[in-house]
Structures are given as structure tokens and as C-alpha cells.
């Protein structure tokens, strides 16, 4: 990454530009890998790119950034993801 000297509103890419957005969560998606059929619907549907996809198409949830919208749970046809209320706010 090269920084430009001229002073204007130029911003540089950063993962977590708004911090760990996982702290926004009220409900948390919980994945049951035994039920998962690796269809990848949750992976492609997550607005936060917070469902990671492995080489074998198994998936895992990145709680650092998951905002808890519940789309993944809603999209999973085999109910391998369920939403549970966060115990304390955030992670």
C-alpha cells in the first residue's frame, strides 16, 4: 500500500474499518456442522462476508464481524443454523 502525500479525503482499505462489528449483535447464529449439507447458501447470502468457506465447502461463522442479522439461519434449508440471544451484549 502506497500512501499519497497530497492531502485530500483518500482512504485506505482495512478489514474492520468500523471495528469489530460483531459487537452489534443481539442474536447470534449458531451452526450445527452435523446438520450442514455444504450447500453454501449461507456463505453467499451473508451481507458481512462472515461465513467462511473452506476448500471442502464446509462453512464456519466469523463472530468478530457477524452482525447477527439472521439471514444465514433463514436461508439454510436444513436448519443447520439457528439464532440464539447473545448472553452479554457483544462477544
Amino acid at each position: 500500500m502506497k500512501k499519497y502525500i497530497v492531502e485530500t479525503s483518500l482512504s485506505y482499505p482495512k478489514k474492520g474499518a468500523m471495528g469489530k462489528t460483531g459487537s452489534w449483535r443481539v442474536f447470534k447464529p449458531v451452526l450445527d456442522t452435523k446438520k450442514c449439507v455444504k450447500c453454501l447458501r449461507c456463505w453467499i447470502s451473508c451481507p458481512e462476508a462472515s461465513i467462511h468457506r473452506e476448500k471442502d465447502n464446509s462453512v464456519s461463522i466469523d463472530y468478530d464481524f457477524c452482525k447477527g442479522c439472521g439471514i444465514c439461519a433463514n436461508e439454510c434449508n436444513v436448519k443447520a443454523i439457528v439464532m440464539e440471544r447473545e448472553k452479554t451484549k457483544g462477544k
Binding site: Y4, V6, E7, T8, S9, L10, S11
Partner: protein, 384 residues
């Protein structure tokens, strides 16, 4: 070197094409039309090899210039009056984005009613956008200033857009000779354009996302610094060009017969040119008055004005009015003098709506001021 006898617009187009911008985006408006038509002719003849985007509005013209400049290309456009005003939002955008777009503005009256003649209310109303603003008074000066504009805009200590103003018809449509240097002279003077930031897939950045109070001021502060740098660089750039071309039209101001003057007339644009004849006549009649023709109003030549104030009382002619106050140049001259000099500044607003201002009129105005008959600033020739 060749001599080109042609209109201000066509000479501006010649200069723009010789600066080799990669992208021109423009929209026609009287009295700028013959300028963009001239560029279209260069395209047709294969003499201009860049992109010429015939956009659907001036707002889009400036937006396209901003896009092209952000992508790393030298860009040029031209407009006038209503077109300049339609660009207003994007003028701020270009300057805040620190993009060295160069634009010619043909000063024309702002409607309604429709009036295509000269006054300077169009560009004067854009003073706060962050653009550097030049005002020309001859076709030679137009050519040279357009070339300077690229040099200055792209200078690493400036990196701001530059507007070159030429008065409607009196300059835009009047044929006068101008010396056109060889292409290699321009090439050597301008050098290859290296953008100071750009949209780059190998170094992705986001330009212009949300920026809060904790940071935004830095962008404004840097623009201010850049304008102040430009103030120092304009004389230097003008002198460098003189060495190459032999032409010099002044620094921030052009001084004309100011030695020993007890009064100095300050005027701009075509009235600035006419003022020289008035000064000749007045001096012949024994009046101790000289001329300082204001070439640049942003950055404003504060120090030069103070210096003049140490020497003489000032007479200011504005071809614009900031309604509710007075002529803009008059306000700014007084602001520059404040606390720095006891010089008296008086003046006139003349030539609004394209009303003719002859050297005789200028003589009359100067005489009235010198006789102490003017309090502050008066309207001239608009008594009826």
C-alpha cells in the same frame, strides 16, 4: 514559432490542444462555443489525439473531467456563465479532490434575462470553490495563461484546478495576433503529467468517503496552503515562460506606469486592457496615476496590494457586484489594506450586463476619484 491571428476562443483552444490533455469534456454555451468547436476541428484533423467527450451538460463536463483526472489523465474543459454556475457543485468537488483540471471560462452575464455580453459575476461568484482564477486581457495572454495554468495546477506544491477567464466577445470573439511557440517548447515547459494521486487497481483507495470533523479541516487547510504556494509560484512560472517565449504579462498583477504614481487604478479583464489607454491619456494630462491590472484573484495578491497602498491611494473598478455589499474586488482590496496602510480606496462598479466601458469612461472614473468626489464605491454609467 508562428503568428496566429484569431479570436480569443480559438487561441485558447490552440493552447489547450498544445498542452495535450488526454481528456477534454465540454458542453457548448455562447460565447464559449467557438472554443469547443475549434477543439472539435482539431479532433477532426487528427491534431488533437486525446478523448473529446461531448457530454450532455456542464455538470457532466466537470464530473467527467473529475473522473478522468482522478484516473490519472490531464484534462481540460471550457464554459461560460450559466454553464459555470451549473458546474458549481463540481467545482468544489474538483478542488477538494485536488485534481488539476484546467478550464477556460468566458465571462458572460448571468440570466435572467438572457444576456450574452460580458460581466464577471459568473466567475466572481465561484471565488470560494478553491479554484485558482486568472483574468486575461489579450489573446497572447490567453494563450500563455492556458499553458501556465497546466504548469501551475499540476505543480506538486499546488495540485489545484485552475480557471482562466476571458471576457465575452471583447476577447472571445475578437481577432488579435498571438505568437504561438513550437510544440516542443510547450512540451518541455509542461513535462509529462504525473498525477499526485489516482484511482489505481494496484493501490486501491477510496476517494471521498465519509470524513468527520476530526479530519475534514485538514483537507481545507491543505487547499489554503496550496493556494498560498500558488501565490509564490505564479511569478516564477511566468518568468520561466518569459525565458522560453519572450512573453510576460505580469505576476499576480501587471504594473503599468506606476513609477511616481500617487494613485493606482486596479482593474481586471478587458477593462484592464482599456485602462492602459486611459492611464496614457491621464498621464499625458499630468495626472499621477498608474495601473495595476489584477491578473489573479485567487489566490488574492494581498501583499502586492499592501505594497501599492504604501505608495498610493487606490481606485478600483469592478465589473461585478456582490449584491447587498459592493464590487468584489473593492471589498477584497480594502480587506488587504486593513491595518496595513492608510491608503484611501474608492471605486466604481461599471460595465454590468455588457455595458461598454471605454478608456474615456475609465478616465472619467479616475478623475472623479482623484478629485475626492467618490465616497466608497459608486455605480458608473448606471444613473438612469
Amino acid at each position: 514559432m508562428t503568428i496566429m491571428i484569431d479570436t480569443g476562443n480559438r487561441i485558447a483552444a490552440k493552447a489547450a490542444v498544445m498542452a495535450k490533455p488526454e481528456v477534454v469534456a465540454a458542453y457548448p454555451i455562447t460565447p464559449q462555443t467557438t472554443l469547443v468547436e475549434a477543439i472539435a476541428e482539431y479532433v477532426a484533423r487528427g491534431e488533437y489525439k486525446g478523448e473529446y467527450i461531448c457530454v450532455e451538460s456542464e455538470h457532466s463536463a466537470m464530473s467527467a473531467c473529475i473522473g478522468a483526472s482522478a484516473a490519472g489523465s490531464r484534462t481540460f474543459t471550457a464554459t461560460s456563465s450559466q454553464g459555470l454556475l451549473l458546474m458549481h457543485e463540481m467545482l468544489h468537488w474538483a478542488a477538494l479532490a485536488r485534481l488539476p483540471v484546467v478550464m477556460c471560462n468566458v465571462n458572460r452575464v448571468v440570466g435572467p434575462g438572457w444576456n450574452i455580453w460580458v460581466d464577471e459575476n459568473d466567475s466572481i461568484s465561484q471565488r470560494d470553490t478553491g479554484w485558482i482564477q486568472f483574468y486575461c486581457s489579450s489573446n497572447q495572454e490567453i494563450f500563455d495563461t492556458v499553458i501556465h495554468a497546466f504548469k501551475l495546477a499540476e505543480h506538486e506544491k499546488v495540485v489545484l484546478p485552475v480557471m482562466v477567464n476571458l471576457n465575452a466577445f471583447i476577447l472571445s470573439h475578437t481577432s488579435m495576433p498571438a505568437e504561438i511557440p513550437d510544440q516542443n517548447v510547450v512540451d518541455n515547459y509542461l513535462e509529462k503529467y504525473i498525477p499526485k494521486w489516482k484511482l489505481d487497481i494496484d493501490n486501491p483507495t477510496t476517494f471521498g468517503n465519509i470524513i468527520g470533523p476530526a479530519h475534514y479541516y485538514r483537507v481545507r487547510r491543505a487547499m489554503q496552503d496550496a493556494q498560498l504556494n500558488a501565490k509564490k509560484l505564479i511569478p516564477q512560472i511566468a518568468k520561466e515562460w518569459m525565458k522560453l517565449s519572450g512573453y510576460f504579462h505580469g505576476d499576480l498583477l501587471e504594473y503599468y506606469k506606476c513609477d511616481g504614481a500617487e494613485y493606482i487604478l486596479l482593474s481586471m479583464g478587458a477593462i484592464g486592457a482599456e485602462s492602459k489607454i486611459a492611464i496614457d491619456e491621464l498621464q499625458k494630462a499630468g495626472q499621477k496615476i498608474g495601473l495595476a491590472r489584477v491578473r489573479v484573484i485567487r489566490p488574492f495578491p494581498v501583499e502586492d496590494i499592501i505594497k501599492l497602498g504604501k505608495q498610493a491611494d487606490l481606485v478600483v473598478i469592478d465589473r461585478n457586484i456582490s449584491v447587498g455589499l459592493e464590487g468584489a474586488l473593492f471589498t477584497e482590496v480594502k480587506a488587504a489594506l486593513y491595518g496595513q496602510s492608510d491608503a484611501k480606496a474608492t471605486g466604481f462598479i461599471a460595465g454590468l450586463g455588457g455595458k461598454d466601458v471605454t478608456y474615456k469612461d475609465i478616465e472619467t472614473m479616475c478623475m472623479k476619484s482623484m478629485k475626492g468626489k467618490v465616497k466608497e464605491q459608486e455605480l458608473y454609467g448606471m444613473e438612469e
